[in-house]
């Protein structure tokens, strides 16, 4: 079994490559899910940002 992990002396290279790749896949899945979960909130923020300048009257209304 330990022979399998040693990989004929190349264990550090093989396992770090596979480890990083696994991490990249997991991080990407997590990032995509988090972005989707946060999207409605982000849409509301963007909508209020877009509306905000319009709420400021630029010309004073005549009495």
């Amino acid at each position: 079994m330990s022979e399998f992990f040693l990989m004929g002396g190349h264990g550090a290279y093989v396992w770090s490559a596979y480890g990083l790749t696994l991490a990249v896949v997991i991080i990407n899945v997590w990032l995509a899910r988090a972005k989707l979960r946060a999207a409605p909130q982000r849409a509301r923020e963007l909508a209020t940002q877009a509306e905000a300048p319009r709420k400021q009257p630029t010309v004073r209304r005549l009495q």
Partner: protein, 250 residues
């Protein structure tokens, strides 16, 4: 130029959003399963290489992640061109969604290449090596694209300007691919696309192709989920989105 009718369906955000919801369980389930099968096969059951020994097991992840990075770039460039020419917002949303995935996988390809290079070439990194340099340029194109977007407050302007960068940068893709043939590189030439068929035995080719399929499915899962988020952000005040979110779907 007039677009065919089926194309307009793919320009409709609600249609694409729902299509993504239907496809993602299959892409994710099958992609995840094949990743597990391919990794175990490549690590435990495929034979070691007669020259490189056990380090050659990196061949089941390195070319695949490199290919995902390049495919992500092509998706980004084609979507950008469509978005720019036909002013299709959804196409820009596809381009934006592909960029971070491409950056991650290109980084992954550079890393797995470095740790494969050490036992095989005697070095992690070689400045000036054409394959390594153009692959690094690919990473910087993705990062430059993402950084350039941040420079704009206006999303439509960001879409149009970054689309130009994406389309111009696509010339780098054939350069990356042919760099090992055009110039002297430490990097070996393509094993799968070798002249006269794949230059590996069947017991290596099967896990190799399983991993190609696994990463491809995973990429499209990631792309569609990010695209859904991008659609919700861009169409936030549309009624169908409010209804969808109101349902407490996610």
């Amino acid at each position: 130029m007039k677009l065919p009718r089926w194309f307009h369906q793919f320009g409709s955000p609600p249609y694409v959003y729902r299509l993504a919801d239907r496809l993602c369980p299959w892409l994710g389930g099958l992609g995840g399963a094949l990743l597990a099968v391919g990794a175990v096969w490549g690590l435990a059951f495929a034979p070691p290489d007669y020259q490189q020994g056990e380090s050659a097991r990196i061949i089941y992840i390195h070319p695949q992640t490199a290919y995902i990075g390049m495919m992500a770039y092509v998706v980004m460039a084609v979507a950008s061109a469509i978005g720019y020419v036909w002013r299709l917002k959804l196409a820009h949303a596809v381009a934006v969604s592909a960029a971070p995935i491409g950056a991650w996988f290109t980084f992954c390809a550079l890393f797995t290449g470095a740790v494969w290079g050490r036992p095989t070439w005697g070095t992690y990194w070689q400045w000036g090596d054409p394959r390594i340099m153009f692959e690094a340029l690919l990473l910087f194109l993705f990062l430059g694209y993402l950084a350039l977007r941040e420079a704009f407050d206006d999303r439509d302007k960001a879409d149009r300007v970054t689309a130009i960068l994406a389309v111009v940068g696509v010339v780098n893709i054939p350069i990356v691919h042919y760099s090992v043939e055009w110039w002297n590189s430490l990097h070996q030439t393509s094993t799968l696309l070798a002249e006269g068929g794949p230059a590996m035995t069947t017991d290596m080719l099967i896990p190799f192709l399983i991993m190609v399929a696994a990463f491809t499915l995973t990429f499209y899962w990631l792309l569609l989920r990010r695209l859904q988020a991008e659609i919700v952000e861009r169409e936030g005040d549309a009624r169908w989105i409010r209804e969808l979110v109101g349902e407490g779907a996610r």
